[in-house]
Amino acid sequence: MQLSRFLGLQVVDAAQHPVGTVVDVRLTVAGSPEKDPPAPRVLGLVISPHTRASFLGYERSNADAPVMIAALLRWWHRGTFLAAWDDVARVGSDLVRLRAGYTRYSAALREPSR
């Protein structure tokens, strides 16, 4: 399956309530991406409740310049969250369903947990 099939899919919760759109797929690499990286695995789906676009990564970092663009994009992507792969109950051709009681994680890109 091609990864791009995830992008743009509508996401619903276990009660079929819409929660957003898949704007990116978060991968994890057990090593350095810059040096002979092993095959990445899917960690989860980045889901935006307001837009289908993924733009410049502002919604996933602390970047705050240029101020106007950062503010606009941060507002546009407000509410963006990361859903773990373990919380994905079903992937269909046009939507993704999350498990009951799924957790909304921060979509910010951070270093590995200690």
Partner: protein
């Protein structure tokens, strides 16, 4: 940023769209051989319930190919127009994706070559690089 909790994880994070898709592919000599148009994943249950604990899909390769037409006009190119490059051939992922030495031949740049030979070459000064 939000006050949501951070997901525990190991390893480095890459967002496919932000860090991989549309990155330039360079061969072992540093020559451009295409762009990352898509990633191939291991299979998982599609259109059916996913059991708890099912292993997350893994990236098996980079897909590169002739996608100019579909990027302009929409749709998806037929799979025969796409080339899968095994992930084992990836040497590094940074601002570009570098590949290890391989016997694979890449034909992702045929449009650029066609433009060079049929169009650019006929423009005065188009046969030599700017100084």
């Amino acid at each position: 940023m939000t006050d949501l909790p951070n997901m525990p994880h190991r390893g480095r994070l890459l967002d496919a769209r932000l860090h991989l898709l549309d990155r330039q592919l360079l061969d072992d000599d540093g020559d451009p051989v295409g762009i990352v148009d898509d990633l191939e994943l291991t299979d998982f249950p599609l259109d059916e319930d996913i059991s708890t604990g099912t292993a997350a899909p893994r990236v098996t390769g980079i897909i590169s190919g002739q996608v100019v037409g579909t990027r302009i006009f929409g749709g998806e190119p037929p799979r025969s127009r796409l080339q899968e490059i095994p992930w084992d051939l990836v040497r590094s992922v940074d601002t570009v994706v570098e590949l290890k030495p391989t016997d694979m031949t890449f034909d992702g740049g045929w449009i650029e070559r066609w433009m060079r030979d049929r169009v650019i070459k006929h423009i005065p000064g188009g046969t030599h690089a700017a100084e």
